[in-house]
């Protein structure tokens, strides 16, 4: 009997869920409307290119080989591959450096503010109100301080991610269970041991959340700086495509960039175990 039920269940056709069907329908509708607009001639042909032209541009972007040069700190490698990857590498290294500098500073400031009530009352308001200001306005200052090269882009990334990470760390530190802190103190843990054994493990989720927010704004800050003034990186490629009015290439780059940004954001959240948090 159990075998029969098992076979019946296996034989039953599995329909895709209604949610999946609606999603597919929405994507198809958008693609059909886009293609309709592209072939109708109502809009400029170059502004709304046909889907196959965008697909071809995407293919060329990701596969067409050129002589490229990778640079990282003191190392330089020359090879033949699509130039997109060399520029992606340039942007990624700037983002990583910006996240490291801004993140570590934000973590240190957040720990100090979270541990000391007087410091928090004195300085946290400044961070809280400076956090939502548009950071790109600091770019002329960063060019003065760090030059027109990658230094100013790294600085923009660092400034952008500093605020969410510092505020998130400070808030996370205040939420630590006091029992854990008392346990640490009863074991006579010194400051370094308290930070590494109690505070940081207990604040894992707020810190990862801050890093996730910080990563998003770090990517935006770095790319905006590249868009404004640079000769390499994804931001440079986008503004170059705009200058040449190569719209299919621009669409292709925006698609790839959005996929990467959303994917990295989701990956950081998953690696940090944010999906395991149960909401009360």
């Amino acid at each position: 009997m159990a075998e029969t039920r098992h076979l019946t269940a296996r034989a039953a056709p599995r329909w895709p869920s209604p949610v999946l069907m609606v999603r597919v329908a929405i994507i198809l509708a958008v693609l059909v409307i886009w293609q309709g607009l592209a072939v109708s001639g109502w809009l400029y042909r170059d502004v709304v290119p046909r889907l196959e032209i965008i697909a071809a541009a995407l293919w060329t972007l990701l596969t067409h080989p050129e002589q490229v040069r990778f640079e990282f700190l003191f190392w330089t490698i020359e090879t033949e591959m699509p130039s997109y990857y060399a520029n992606l590498w340039a942007t990624a290294s700037e983002v990583v450096q910006g996240l490291l500098i801004g993140g570590l500073l934000g973590l240190a400031v957040g720990l100090v503010l979270g541990a000391n009530r007087l410091m928090a009352s004195a300085f946290e308001a400044y961070l809280y109100y400076l956090g939502p200001t548009p950071k790109i306005i600091f770019f002329p200052v960063m060019i003065m301080w760090f030059g027109v090269g990658s230094g100013s882009k790294v600085a923009m990334g660092a400034i952008s991610c500093f605020f969410p990470i510092a505020l998130s760390t400070a808030a996370g530190m205040r939420q630590i269970d006091q029992v854990l802190i008392r346990v640490g103190k009863s074991f006579r843990a010194n400051t370094w041991q308290m930070v590494t054994k109690i505070y940081l493990p207990a604040m894992r989720h707020p810190i990862i959340n801050g890093v996730r927010l910080g990563l998003g704004v770090c990517i935006i800050g770095t790319l905006l700086a590249e868009l404004k003034l640079s000769n390499r990186g994804i931001g440079f490629l986008i503004i170059q495509a705009y200058s040449l009015f190569d719209m299919p290439r621009m669409y292709a780059m925006l698609i790839v960039l959005f996929v990467i940004a959303i994917g990295v954001n989701a990956l950081v959240g998953r690696l940090g175990g944010l999906h395991t948090i149960r909401r009360s």
């Binding site: 990517i219 705009y242 621009m250 959303i262």
Partner: protein
């Protein structure tokens, strides 16, 4: 309350404020001294006293009132658009559950996506005009309004809806009299977040495309290598965004007791 207790409270509140403000003043004075003795290059960082003096020049000579009005108009137009469109989409998604399930994660992903990078695309579509800036502000500010509208409407207490039903309210009456007022504080949180994203993008795109109000002012001054003016304009933009942030926060607190 005794005079001693009042004095102690005042002291306890005043001490952090004094520490914060005092540190800021000491920091500025230290920069002034370091530049004057040549430790910091004055062609990279201008004297804070020069920056303070440049405020008057920037306000009188750079037509800052008109620039502020233009930025305010762009942010306000985008703000009205995100409120109207965002709340309408939020209501639609609340009513059509299947559509909500299918699109809510997309909208959340859009909120974290670097949409501001689409500005070259908007430049091509709308030209180098205020509409490019307004539309960029609109795209950036829309997702939080939609998400918070859904959250606010879904979070309406069951008992309120049951009271409405027991009074035999029709669907639209239930929405206007019960659901919408109950969701309003949460919706405003979304509108506030949206307005912040909008302002960031409006000023950012003004700076990037060198068009419009306050963002363009910073770009203009930087290109003229007017360092004290650039720093003064940056301080002015920070001041404007902080005041804007505080006002929206105050309105949010004012709305909260309505729940």
């Amino acid at each position: 309350m005794t005079a001693a207790a009042t004095s102690a409270i005042l002291r306890s509140r005043a001490a952090p404020l004094a520490l914060g403000f005092g540190t800021l003043v000491v920091g500025i004075l230290a920069v002034e001294v370091l530049i004057r003795i040549g430790v910091i290059n004055r062609f990279i960082v201008p004297l804070p006293s020069q920056i303070a003096l440049a405020f008057e020049r920037v306000i009188t000579e750079e037509d800052i009132v008109e620039r502020f009005r233009l930025t305010f108009f762009e942010a306000l137009t985008a703000g009205v658009m995100i409120t109207v469109v965002g709340v309408a989409i939020g209501i639609l998604l609340y009513r059509v559950n299947l559509l909500r399930q299918a699109t809510e994660t997309w909208i959340a992903a859009m909120a974290s996506a670097p949409t501001v990078l689409m500005y070259p695309l908007f430049l091509v579509i709308f030209g180098r005009s205020a509409w490019t800036i307004i539309m960029m502000g609109f795209v950036a500010g829309l997702p939080p309004v939609i998400l918070k509208t859904i959250e606010g409407l879904s979070g309406t207490r069951r008992v309120l809806i049951n009271v409405g039903r027991s009074l035999k309210l029709t669907g639209p009456q239930l929405f206007i009299k019960i659901l919408f007022p109950a969701a309003l504080p949460t919706i405003f949180v979304g509108v506030r977040l949206g307005l912040i994203f909008t302002l960031i993008n409006v000023v950012g795109v003004e700076f990037l495309i060198n068009f419009g109000g306050l963002g363009q002012l910073i770009n203009d001054l930087a290109e003229r290598y007017d360092l004290p003016g650039t720093y003064a304009a940056i301080c002015f933009v920070i001041l404007v965004s902080v005041v804007f942030f505080m006002i929206t926060e105050w309105i949010e607190r004012w709305l909260r007791p309505a729940t």
